[in-house]
């Protein structure tokens, strides 16, 4: 008994230095934060830009300095650009993408779910989706304009089509990812087909649907700006296009900055939505 007691008592007195804490050596980047490196890289790129612009290695017409871009941003913020204020441009783009996203989610999620659940729905919707989904949206933009006119309807229709497919396909994949054990468990607890859909299939597919929406928003921004470059009188894409007509490179940079900020804000918002709706993701 005394041997066991001795073996169990701590071997080192408390006054000694704390022990060296060790952990398993990690492969790859491990778990240390990359924030400092990322910030330093960003600053270095800015410095490089400033340096190249300052030395005039590249013609000033093609590459404005960072401070000129900031000046341009302030002037656009104050006075607007190309017959509209900054907020009208940003608002026009946001209204298009948000409207199209809402329609694409409202149509894509239920159609995708039905494609995962029913052979008929899958057979019917597979053909058109597989046909048009790989096409670049700009290839059918002319058709949209011919059919729906030059106004908002054609652009929103184009965006909706571009965003619909990733949402529908991910909803379908979400249904397929529901394990048969989970379905059997619900059935043996007396679930009807409708209860099975609402309580098991829909929540199980939700993480994949949200991933699909995230992909769709990425596709949406690309399509939106391209569509506005071609046919619009408002919007961030139009702002860039009209600036490039006057070789106003600083304004082009401002436009690019705004798109980057909007896209980043959307990604961030989607993360928050995921954390709120599917806190269990990756947990089971």
């Amino acid at each position: 008994m005394t041997d066991i007691a001795a073996a169990n008592s701590p071997s080192a007195p408390l006054t000694e230095a704390p022990p060296r804490v060790v952990k398993m050596r990690a492969f790859g980047i491990g778990e240390y934060s990359t924030l400092a490196i990322s910030v330093a890289t960003g600053l270095a790129l800015l410095a490089l830009w400033q340096f190249v612009a300052w030395t005039r290695l590249v013609s000033h017409l093609f590459l404005p300095t960072p401070s000129e871009v900031v000046d341009a941003a302030i002037s656009i913020y104050r006075d607007g650009y190309a017959n509209a204020s900054l907020w009208e441009h940003v608002g026009a783009s946001l209204a298009r993408i948000v409207t199209a996203a809402a329609i694409a989610i409202a149509l894509g999620a239920p159609i995708g779910l039905s494609m995962g659940l029913s052979r008929w729905a899958k057979g019917v919707f597979d053909t058109p989706i597989e046909f048009y989904w790989p096409l670049p949206p700009l290839a059918y933009l002319p058709l949209m304009i011919i059919w729906l006119g030059i106004g908002e309807v054609s652009k929103i229709a184009l965006l909706t089509l571009a965003m619909f497919a990733p949402i529908a396909l991910s909803a379908q994949a979400g249904v397929r990812s529901v394990s048969s054990e989970r379905v059997n468990a619900a059935l043996s607890l007396g679930a009807t087909r409708f209860q099975l859909l609402r309580e098991i299939v829909l929540p199980s597919a939700l993480p994949e649907i949200l991933t699909g929406i995230r992909i769709a928003l990425g596709v949406g921004w690309g399509t939106l700006v391209a569509a506005e470059l071609i046919a619009a009188t408002r919007g961030i894409g139009y702002l860039i296009m009209s600036a490039s007509n006057f070789l106003a490179t600083d304004v082009v940079f401002v436009g690019i900055g705004i798109i980057a900020a909007c896209a980043f804000a959307f990604t961030f918002a989607m993360r928050l939505v995921e954390r709120w709706l599917v806190p269990w993701k990756g947990q089971s």
């Binding site: 394990s179 054990e181 989970r182 059997n184 468990a185 619900a186 059935l187 043996s188 607890l189 007396g190 679930a191 009807t192 209860q195 309580e199 098991i200 929540p203 599917v278 269990w280 947990q283 089971s284």
Partner: protein, 263 residues
């Protein structure tokens, strides 16, 4: 009473040939009985349970519960799976109450009933935890409470403790005996552990693979002794227990296809 009458079942294998999974299995599970099916993997014991649960149709033969033919899954046959199938977006109490929700029971009553069942399995303090915060053994206890919630006539348990460590497993066996003694449910329990089968069963069937069929049946009383005296060690070290364990081990080894093919 659940009655399995000459149940045969063929699966289609990948190359299209039928695989004989169950061969004229007959079995009665009377009221209050705890019937354990024991066998090596591939002996058809899970197939038999899936057919009882209504997940699988039979090729021939019949399964009836209190005279009514089993024709699909239903709330009168509760199932506990080997892999826990709890829903991560619901709390432990909501998971337990799922079957009551399906039956249209109101929120307050669902909660009361769930807490009562969680008390039965010793988890009343975890009612509002998320399932993924629990250990494997605790999750299986939630699974048992959930299966009991709609008050089924029979509980079907498919190797529920197979993935647990041996110490947790023994605790779970003792818990199951208390639940069984307290609720008086008839239970069909699958395992590949001889000791578990002997300790839990009022009846034991030994199954052999290819095709799955019953090769031996025993009536046992160890579980009743344990339910009365609560002394697992005494039960498991009794000479009759050890003797039966060796006898059944010999039968199970005989049924292993590799062994018989080699000779």
């Amino acid at each position: 009473m659940l009655r399995v009458d000459k149940a045969s079942l063929y699966f289609a294998s990948r190359d299209g040939r039928p695989v004989h999974a169950l061969d004229r299995v007959s079995l009665d599970i009377p009221e209050r009985a705890l019937v354990v099916a024991l066998g090596t993997s591939g002996c058809g014991k899970s197939t038999l349970l899936n057919a009882m649960a209504g997940f699988l149709p039979l090729s021939s033969g019949s399964i009836t519960l209190n005279g009514h033919a089993v024709e699909g899954p239903g709330a009168e046959r509760g199932v506990v799976f080997q892999k826990d199938t709890l829903l991560p977006w619901k709390s432990v109490a909501e998971n337990v109450a799922l079957g009551l929700k399906f039956a249209g029971v109101g929120r307050a009553e669902r909660r009361d009933r769930a807490l009562e069942l969680l008390r039965l399995v010793g988890l009343e303090d975890f009612a509002d935890a998320a399932p993924y915060e629990l250990s494997g053994g605790m999750r299986q206890r939630v699974g048992i409470a959930r299966a009991l919630a709609p008050d089924p006539a029979i509980l079907l348990m498919d190797e529920p403790f197979g993935a647990l460590d041996s110490m947790t497993r023994e605790q779970m066996q003792e818990l199951l005996v208390s639940v069984w003694a307290r609720t008086g449910k008839q239970i069909f329990f699958i395992t590949h552990s001889i000791e578990e089968a002997l300790f839990l069963g009022t009846q034991l069937i030994v199954m052999s693979p290819r095709p799955g069929r019953v090769v031996a049946r025993y009536d046992l009383d160890f579980v009743e002794t344990f339910a009365r005296d609560r002394d697992a060690r005494a039960v498991k070290t009794a000479p009759t227990f050890a003797g039966l364990r060796e006898e059944i081990r010999a039968i199970v080894h005989q049924t292993e296809p590799n062994r018989s093919a080699a000779q």
